[in-house]
Symmetry: C2
Subunit: 145 residues, 2 copies
């Protein structure tokens, strides 16, 4: 992939990871979006309105995922005592179990990488992606005038 | 972002780049998918059936993008003399012009990064992403038994 541009490589790599995680999640009758949501719900309950921004997910696809998770018995939704417009998401026992499975899969993926490439190189990977992320927030690539 | 996992960083960085490219493309009445397709059509004409695999795009969203591009006068579609089931995609003059704009935007993005971080670190970024990509193809993270 070396002759490709950085954006091309980011896209191809992320698409590959997403496909792999979806295949792995399907063994548990789930999807990557479900696993990712499980990892973002706190044990104390998470307001539904806080999840979208936290996960960088659109409201419509998030609410479809939450509906799906409720149907599968992974979460319950109860009215939020502090905000009438939102609901609190709680994990069921099965949800906690599947959250642990999700966490193990993410750790496994990251450990395999760490076993095959030096920490220095991984740190440089993080430096490059952090720089891109910050430059996007600061509009350093393209200005919007 | 340092305490995050590699998959998390890949997702957040790619989503940021995609949002930025879509915003930039919208200044030209286009989308990132259109710009990306322009960059993948050869001057000699590209069979529509070759584009999807080349771009890692699903058939339905690709055909929607191609329809959209034809409506905007960026491409023409003619029957493929070598394959009755596919069509050949050609860029119009306007398509070639917009292809050049797309190419400049990608170069600009990559140049800004290269100006702010060492080549060694960028090479390590490529090494890490290549390793992930290869390990996914070789099913080294999760096996499918």
């Amino acid at each position: 992939m070396r002759e490709k541009s950085i954006d091309h490589v980011l896209r191809a790599t992320w698409q590959g990871v997403a496909k792999m995680y979806n295949e792995e999640a399907s063994k548990y009758g789930a999807t990557m979006a479900i696993a990712f949501t499980l990892l973002n719900v706190d044990k104390e309950g998470t307001p539904s309105t806080a999840l979208g921004p936290k996960m960088g997910m659109e409201a419509t696809s998030l609410s479809r995922t939450l509906k799906n998770m409720e149907d599968k018995g992974l979460i319950t939704r109860t009215p939020n005592p502090q905000d009438g417009r939102s609901v609190l998401i709680f994990l069921t026992d099965y949800g906690v179990e599947m959250r642990n499975v999700s966490k193990e899969k993410v750790l496994h993926f990251n450990n395999i990488i760490a076993q095959h490439i030096s920490e220095e190189k991984i740190n440089h990977f993080y430096e490059v992606t952090s720089l891109i992320y910050e430059f996007i927030q600061d509009k350093k690539f393209f200005n919007n005038d």
